[in-house]
Amino acid sequence: MREAWLPLAVLLALGLAPLAGFGGAYETTLMARAMILGMAAVALSFLVGGAGLVSLGHAASIGVGAYAVAILDAHGVTEAALVLPAAVGAATLFALATGAIAVRTTGVHFIMITLAFGQMAFFTASSLAAYGGDDGYTLFSRTEAFGTRLLEDRLAFHYICLGALALSWALSAMLLASRFGRVLRAVRENPQRVEAVGLAPYPFRLVAYGIAGGIGGLAGFLLANATEFVSPATLSWQRSGELLFMVILGGVGRLWGAILGALVFVMLETWLAEQMQHWKLVFGPMLVLAVLFLRGGLAGLVTPRHG
């Protein structure tokens, strides 16, 4: 845990930021986006680095969570006690249903299948004309916490996101250290050996996939509230790719690398987009260069692995 001084410092900084003058609408929106994506990225890092499941469809679980909020909003249900479990539950179910098939495969097959399922979710969302279809859906209001408009308070929302991020990280870390996590980590390196000690890899991978989906759903719930707008773009495969990039940018071996990765990514993307219209011309090659040269990611730069 000593190695985690950097992400802990980052979380602390995020906590202090609004009090240190970064409490305006622009800054908190930016930080919210970074924290929400960071949460999803940590869950993905858990999957990729912990279980060896490289999912190219993780944005779908965020999207399912976000759309749960939108759909319930369209029908007048805005109470968090209902909406939050619905969002997390829907995303978990989606992950378990698609994972039941995807997790039977490994390697490239798995990557492609998760990509395909993500697309399936994307097209389904695009065809939901009642909830905006291609154009997306604007929420009537943010989710109410026990009848209050707590989430509309900028500061409160900021700390809720921060709390959720910290929770996601802690949960993922705890899972990886547990008996369950030990099996996952062993399956990542040597599934044959796991079978040979009497454990079937499939249920463990499936549960991991479901949990990551649930955390994604939580991120989706918060995202819908942050932007008060939900659209199929949330589920696009480009978003899934961006999430993977955050994981690799941060460094695959460390869960908290994903938090750094998300932060850097969001800041970079925002800054670049303000500099030039065709910022992707720069961003794309930056991705390529980062992959080619930044092995071990940012986490690897800060705390080099021993041995």
């Binding site: 705890m174 899972l175 040979a196 041995g307």
Partner: protein, 250 residues
């Protein structure tokens, strides 16, 4: 005659037109070391795959401790008490030797769907792991990542992992493959120590080890068992000499 712990009943497996396992029947009695020998291409590897569950035989039965395991999955067979070591060592390279064995102990010790407690802090698992490592002489290498162990140490680790699953039958797949003379001596000594506590099915090429350790030997040639008997009986069996021991490896 005691009830066999493992009974193979006319196992058959063919690939295309070739019968790789051609009606193999053999018994492993509790407490014995039963060696299976045979020339290359005899079908030893396929037989191991059939016993452990990687390959399903086309016909025949496998009965383990009175239970028909012919259709059971690999993990289920291991849980029933049938552990194996791999010829090409198969460990988790990023885990320490201790954690490799603790994984096996954990698999034995009940539910792995525990999400809260750090597994590394579970004293019972660690103790069981240390005990198994001590049995194979690796106690002082417990904290070394398995990937960094020497080839011989990895082989010993394989054994420790198998032991930690508290097996009723140990299936050893050419444990001496590629071992130098010193290591062979050490492994034979280790296996002699284990002999009293475990039933072992030993698939081996090394005749020195086989004749030193085995209670009974079955000779596999072209997918069939041509003879089963004590070491002496096999050594003097004319069919066996013609088919196999003529290419003397002792």
């Amino acid at each position: 005659m005691a009830e066999p712990l493992l009974r193979l009943d006319a196992l058959r497996k063919h690939y295309g037109g070739l019968a790789v396992t051609d009606g193999v029947s053999l018994d492993v009695l509790p407490g014995e070391i039963h060696a299976v020998i045979g020339p290359n291409g005899a079908g030893k590897t396929t037989l191991i795959h059939e016993i452990t569950g990687l390959v399903a035989p086309d016909s025949g039965r496998i009965v383990f401790a009175g239970q028909d395991i012919t259709r059971l999955s690999i993990p289920r067979r291991v849980r029933a008490g049938l552990a194996r070591s791999f010829q090409i060592t198969s460990v988790v390279p990023g885990f320490t030797a201790l954690e490799n064995v603790a994984l096996a102990a954990q698999a034995r010790a009940g539910c792995s769907f525990r999400f809260l407690r750090p597994a590394a802090s579970e004293a019972a698992l660690n103790e069981a792991a240390v005990a198994a490592l001590a049995e194979v002489g690796l106690a002082d290498r417990a904290a070394i990542p398995a990937g960094a162990l020497s080839h011989g140490e990895k082989r010993a680790l394989e054994l420790a992992i198998a032991l930690a699953t508290r097996p009723r039958l140990l299936l050893l797949d050419e444990p001496l493959a590629g071992a130098g003379p010193e290591e062979t001596e050490r492994l034979i000594a280790l296996l002699t120590r284990l002999k009293s506590a475990y039933t072992i099915l030993l698939v081996e090429h090394d005749m020195q080890a086989v004749f030193a350790l085995a209670d009974r030997v079955s000779v596999l040639v072209y997918g069939r068992v041509i003879a089963t008997g004590t070491v002496e009986a096999i050594r003097t069996n004319p069919e066996v000499r013609a088919a196999y021991l003529g290419e003397d490896e002792a």
